[in-house]
């Protein structure tokens, strides 16, 4: 078992990182003075992992869309009870989530964390799938799919990805469709579980009022050594070009929305912390209301305070996305293109850069005051293959030239997708 202490470069915060003998990576942050504990048991298995094999002798198999998410639902059912009933005894709030690149099971509690941790480690390692309980879940997940189909935020995001990526599975809805989940059965769930819920492919992230020694002792007791190999995932070769620069859908909504995404080149794990910080600071520079472009768009009523950015990145995909509400999304797109052209030719304003860098620094500092955010940060670091404080370090080393280079090399107007949700009926 390998144990190291990773220190934050600007604060007193420390993370204990352990490569457990079972194969699991464990991140622990003991946060003095906090009552709460947030734990996340995560596997690098999300909706993009849809074609894989577990041995070089096998052919790659393609699974129906939505399997990772379906599996997440079904793990909450033990042979003899619902997992929620177990958490109810300890008072913890248990939950789970599946995204494009991961599935995680979490709990938050303010007492009895050791008991809740035992429940978490135990149920995730004990799948119980039957024909009956799989059929029962299909109705519940079909409703979840309908709920997200009624969400304009999800529609606009999914439409954008489908028009940005030709073949990368990030273009496919996380939950799948009513038709694809109808193809899922217990045999398939076991196959996917055995491939991806290998402790060598997983991490435990736990932050708050915990003792590292106690956490490790529980892991020693509850985790069996895993000697399996991680599955080989097939990722199709994605071209640099986008599918289509514009997509529009009409929904029964009151306020039209837009999402404007730059398709950037994907980055390997070793570069991702640095590139994510570059993209994030660039996004902040462009969307902050102190900037010239934003000031003008606000004044002309083209955007409102909902205008914001996000960096969306994972294995084989990387995008800087601007989104908000607007009646004239094409004008927002044109303004962003013009501003990026201006930055590319003139370089960024160094004073504004300095202010935005301070903003990002302040955000990182404040995040360390929250057990949920700290647990999230450690889990994100595991999935991205970086250290928990690497983004802070990358920020401290960031220069205006880095932003100029990132803007010139990654934010190309022929790799820009505008996704719009318009009103079905007039106002």
């Amino acid at each position: 078992m390998h144990r190291e202490i990773i220190s934050s470069p600007f604060t007193d915060d420390k993370v204990i990182h352990i490569k457990h003998k079972s194969g699991l990576e464990i991140y622990i942050c003991e946060m003095k003075g906090f009552n709460g504990v947030q734990a996340q048991f995560c596997t690098k298995y999300g909706s993009i992992h849809r074609r894989f094999r577990t041995s070089p002798d096998e052919d790659f198999m393609t699974v129906p869309d939505g399997v990772a998410h379906f599996l997440e639902h079904k793990l909450f059912e033990n042979e003899d009870c619902q997992v929620f009933e177990l958490y109810a005894k300890t008072g913890a709030n248990g939950n789970a989530a599946t995204s494009y690149d991961r599935t995680y099971y979490d709990f938050y509690c303010t007492a009895n964390y050791a008991e809740s941790l035992k429940i978490l480690l135990d149920f995730v390692q004990k799948p119980y799938f039957t024909k009956e309980n799989v059929a029962k879940e299909q109705g519940i997940i079909a409703q979840e799919i309908k709920m997200s189909d009624d969400s304009p935020d999800w529609r606009i995001f999914e439409n954008m990805l489908a028009n940005m990526y030709h073949v990368h599975p990030v273009r496919i809805k996380i939950e799948g469709t009513a038709e694809s989940i109808a193809e899922i059965d217990e045999t398939l769930l076991y196959k996917c579980y055995n491939a991806f819920y290998d402790l060598n492919n997983m991490c435990l992230s736990i932050a708050g009022n915990v003792s590292a020694d106690e956490v490790i002792a529980i892991c020693d007791e509850y985790l069996a050594e895993s000697s399996k190999n991680a599955p080989e995932v097939f990722m199709p070769c994605e071209p640099d070009e986008i599918v289509s620069p514009y997509v529009c859908e009409k929904l029964d909504i009151g306020e039209p929305l837009f999402s404007l995404g730059y398709k950037c080149r994907p980055f390997s794990s070793s570069d991702r912390a640095v590139k994510s910080v570059q993209a994030s600071v660039t996004g902040c520079l462009l969307s902050d209301s102190s900037g010239r472009m934003c000031e003008r768009l606000l004044s002309e009523g083209i955007i409102n305070s909902s205008f914001s950015y996000e960096v969306f990145a994972g294995d084989g995909y990387f995008s800087l996305i601007f989104s908000g509400e607007s009646e004239e999304p094409e004008k927002v797109r044109d303004a962003i293109i013009d501003e990026i052209d201006r930055i590319s030719s003139e370089g960024i304003d160094e004073q504004q850069f300095s202010r935005i860098k301070k903003t990002a620094y302040g955000y990182y500092i404040r995040e360390l005051n929250n057990v949920d955010a700290v647990a999230d940060r450690m889990m994100n670091a595991f999935v991205d293959g970086i250290g928990p404080f690497d983004t802070m370090k990358a920020l401290s080393e960031l220069t205006p030239d880095d932003i100029n280079r990132f803007t010139c090399s990654e934010l190309k107007k022929d790799r820009l997708v505008l996704s719009v949700i318009e009103r079905k009926c007039d106002k």
Partner: protein, 420 residues
């Protein structure tokens, strides 16, 4: 943790919480006033103008730049509705001095900046600066129009509007379009001045640093304000309709959002809270285990307690042709509770859940602020351990009585259009 409570001026309470674990600070100023059609939008715009500019930083860009210089300090406003009362919040948070690498005195800088917003707004001629006001008014109108973007929230808002018809609580917290359109830079400033003079004001400051500088600066500025305020009660029960009102509305949606509003005359807060958790506010609740897990009718079916109105709201997303079955099962589960079909295990699980939530107060800056705000308006113990003990005393009989007190008042359904 150190707690300190003082009065800054007439009906202006100041709560300071000092906790060494935090690396940042939060200042929250709440203006508590009556909620009405005539003032709701003007109040919202009045407060939001304060956080966009001030006389020293007279444009949105200038103030935003200054906040960026101060390590991305946040400064914002929000509006909420509790019972029949509107609460306007102005809040700010910033990192503590030891993390300010350019050596700024963050607390003093932020106190001065916030007081500049409160007491020296960018309003040169008896009205807010027209340019920033126009931007913020458009923003408010967009928020009003955007209500239908989020179907569940829209259905809840409509259901509460029907349940509390004729009461201030029925009116949207940020107002309706026609009222927001009528607000001018002048009327928004007048609304803010009225809040400054007449609202009950509650300020909280949570930090690992002392509150002396903040108090000194705020006290100095508030001493120049002539106050004529009243205090407000946040609780105001709503009469139940003789017959439940049913409203069925169609939109172009995939999922039907079904809302049921129950009202109660029960004053046993602890029993109502426990009843609500067991009914539908936890993953071990009767609604979750039966409507979702047993019958697979929905992805979500949950309840929430609106104690200020003595109401319980149940929300569920399901197919149009399953609405009746879901409604019947929700009523059946309530009936089970009324009949006393509650096990000791369920009571214990409910108690564990509520204890878990209570102990989390104090883990974030805002949770401390909310905790002590609630203590001021509700007669609940200050000490979390004592508060937990009150829940421990709740018996099955009290939970049954709380369940029996619920009467269905409103049934609202936002459904997809039927195919021909």
């Amino acid at each position: 943790m150190e707690y300190n409570r003082t009065q800054l001026a007439e009906n202006i309470g100041f709560t300071a919480v000092r906790d060494e674990k935090f690396n940042s600070s939060l200042l929250m100023i709440r203006f508590i006033t009556e909620h009405s059609e005539t003032s709701a939008s003007a109040n919202v715009l009045g407060i939001s103008c304060l956080t966009a500019t001030n006389s020293r930083y007279p444009t949105i860009s200038a103030l935003s730049s200054r906040l960026n210089e101060l390590y991305g300090a946040s400064l914002g406003s929000s509006a909420g509705k509790v019972g029949n009362v509107q609460i306007l919040r102005l809040y700010s948070s910033w990192i503590n001095n030891r993390y300010a690498y350019d050596g700024e005195d963050m607390q003093r800088e932020m106190a001065e900046l916030i007081c500049g917003c409160l007491f020296s707004p960018n309003a040169p001629n008896g009205e807010f600066d027209e340019e920033s006001f126009r931007i913020l008014k458009n923003d408010l109108l967009d928020r009003i129009d955007g209500e239908t973007n989020y179907k569940y929230g829209y259905a809840v808002s409509k259901a509460l509007g029907i349940a509390f018809r004729g009461e201030p609580a029925a009116y949207p917290v940020i107002g309706k379009r026609r009222d927001a359109e009528a607000v001018t830079p002048q009327s928004a400033l007048a609304a803010y001045h009225k809040l400054l003079e007449t609202a009950q004001i509650e300020i909280s400051f949570v930090s690992s640093e002392g509150h002396e500088v903040i108090v000194e600066i705020l006290r100095k500025h508030f001493s120049g304000i002539k106050r004529n305020s009243r205090s407000y009660a946040l609780r105001c029960k709503s009469p139940v309709k003789e017959q439940p009102e049913t409203v069925f509305r169609e939109m172009d949606v995939n999922q039907c959002n079904m809302i049921m509003v129950f009202k109660s005359d029960c004053d046993d807060y602890y029993a109502l809270s426990m009843m609500n958790i067991l009914f539908g506010d936890a993953s071990f609740s009767k609604l979750f285990l039966n409507v979702r897990e047993k019958l697979s009718l929905c992805y979500f079916c949950s309840s929430s307690l609106f104690y200020s109105k003595n109401a319980v709201l149940v929300g569920c997303g399901t197919d149009r042709d399953k609405v009746e079955q879901a409604r019947d099962e929700i009523l059946h589960q309530l009936n089970e509770m009324c009949r006393g079909n509650i096990s000791d295990k369920e009571i214990n699980d409910t108690f564990m859940s509520v204890s878990n939530t209570i102990r989390s107060a104090g883990d974030t800056l805002s949770s401390y602020s909310n905790w002590f705000f609630d203590r001021i308006f509700y007669d609940h113990p200050h000490d979390p351990a004592e508060y937990i003990e009150e829940f421990r005393k709740v018996t099955k009989e009290r939970i049954v009585q709380a369940a029996r007190s619920l009467r269905l008042d409103t049934f609202y359904c936002l459904a997809g259009k039927e195919e021909n």
